[in-house]
């Protein structure tokens, strides 16, 4: 305390000057109109910059929550898009043609409300493989999250696989890069001609589309999408593009063999969504009747 007092006394002039100047500054910015305006403008500029930097830092630390909520928004939009495609129904009578594709629109003629068919559950791939002959992924969703076997797994870019085994918190997904994977896909530029997409091993970026009849003139670069006939994958979801000009299928000369370049790079799969078909139970029971009838 004594040393502080000595310091103050030794530098008394400077300390007095500082205190007086602070007082003069306060008088200037409070009573001089011009100085008040300049001060308000300056504090506004620097205060704004400081608040902006603070907001950038706060936004950075809340990136996880933002990404999570964006993933939910993407899921909801994907669901709406898939359901909108699914519910495009033409109703025709002798007087007029009505098309409706809205999720909530009521058809005034039949008084029916369209219902969504698909739900998307966000997930992350926590284990992946692409180098084997039959490849699998593990996702961080299980039975507690509503996952069931035979649910499709997609990403915003393309298709990923099919759920085969479900644990409480995790699930095992058969990758599209699996010899037993057979995905029903269509060529939208060829009147939605559909066929089976399979993986024959080797190149993880390429799959083979079979059972497209020979009379279709398929060009290189044409899009390939899910057909909607598999009941797992919603219709119209991107799969890839036609890689080369198709050749005749050596196993079946009435059909084409088309190489498809996948739009989803299976080596970088991370954020995925599991597709729940809300009419699965009903569709499964109908399929069971087909099997019973054919015995």
């Amino acid at each position: 305390m004594g040393k502080l007092l000595q310091l103050l006394l030794r530098n008394g002039g400077f300390v007095t000057f500082l205190l007086v100047e602070i007082g003069c500054f306060a008088i200037m910015v409070n009573f001089e109109t011009r100085h008040k305006e300049i001060w308000a403008n300056t504090t506004g500029i620097f205060g704004g910059r400081a608040l902006e930097k603070r907001q950038i830092a706060a936004d950075y630390f809340s990136l996880y929550e933002t990404a999570d909520s964006l993933a939910h928004i993407v899921d909801s939009l994907q669901a709406r898009l898939s359901n909108a495609r699914q519910m495009q129904v033409s109703i025709r009578d002798t007087f007029f043609l009505v098309n409706y594709d809205s999720l909530s629109k009521t058809d005034t003629v039949r008084r029916k409300t369209v219902r969504p068919q698909y739900e998307f559950i966000t997930a992350k791939s926590i284990k992946n493989a692409i180098a084997g002959t039959n490849n699998w992924l593990i996702i961080n969703r299980g039975s507690t999250d509503g996952i069931q076997p035979d649910m499709a797994v997609v990403s915003p870019e393309g298709i990923v696989g099919i759920v085969r085994h479900v644990g409480t918190n995790f699930s095992l997904v058969m990758s599209v890069l699996h010899r037993q994977a057979k995905i029903s896909v269509a060529l939208p530029n060829q009147k939605n001609a559909f066929g089976s997409l399979i993986w024959e091993g080797g190149d993880p970026e390429e799959m083979t589309l079979r059972y497209i009849p020979q009379h279709f003139v398929v060009k290189k670069g044409e899009p390939v999408v899910t057909s909607g006939y598999s009941l797992m994958f919603p219709q119209g979801h991107p799969v890839g593009i036609v890689k080369d000009l198709p050749k005749s299928d050596p196993e079946n000369p009435y059909f084409l063999e088309i190489k498809v370049s996948l739009s989803q790079d299976m080596a970088t799969v991370r954020e995925v969504a599991v597709v729940r078909n809300l009419f699965k139970a009903e569709l499964d029971s109908l399929q069971l009747k087909i099997s019973i009838n054919e015995r």
């Binding site: 008394g12 000057f17 007086v20 003069c24 009573f31």
Partner: protein, 173 residues
């Protein structure tokens, strides 16, 4: 300060503030904005050399505040006066004899220092004061050119009036 030099300083305070407000500022309004003469800092300059710096700062603030009150420029002259109070020692340092000023040199005036030393010291002192004054008068760096030009012209005109004042009153204490 002792009893013998309080009265001259009070007279100097009132006189310089009156001249500054009633005469010199009116000349600025008449002649033009670049004709600025700041004579009231002479009050700070002629304060006793032995007076401790905190008192010089406070008296500098007081004379500046008096001018502010008369002109309505709240805080500007007071700030410059306080600054001059603390810079007085810096301005006079090159002219101080070995061991500092003594009681033989009560104030910084030609009667004790000679005209050459006085004018040199006053030129430096006034430069500090006038630069600080215009900097805070404009209060923004965008007016840098105006601040510099007005500082130079004001310093020139002030240094014309200072010898006239000193020759007229010949302050000794």
């Amino acid at each position: 300060m002792n009893g013998s030099n309080i009265t001259p300083n009070i007279m100097r305070f009132i006189g310089l503030v009156a001249v500054q407000v009633l005469l010199l500022n009116q000349m600025t309004n008449t002649v033009g904005e670049y004709f600025n003469v700041l004579l009231y800092p002479l009050f700070i300059l002629f304060l006793p050399l032995q007076l401790p710096t905190p008192y010089v700062v406070l008296l500098g603030f007081a004379v500046g505040f008096a001018v502010d009150a008369a002109l309505g420029t709240w805080g500007v002259h007071a700030s410059a006066g306080a600054f001059s109070g603390v810079m007085r020692g810096v301005a006079f340092f090159p002219f101080a004899p070995k061991g500092g000023f003594s009681a033989k040199d009560p104030i910084f005036a030609p009667a004790h220092m000679g005209w050459q030393t006085f004018l040199q010291g006053t030129a430096l002192f006034m430069a500090f004061h006038i630069l600080w004054y215009f900097t805070f008068s404009y209060f923004a760096p965008v007016f840098g050119w105006e601040i510099m030009t007005k500082t130079v012209t004001s310093w020139i005109f002030t240094m014309i009036f200072v010898p006239l004042y000193v020759a007229m009153f010949n302050p000794k204490k």
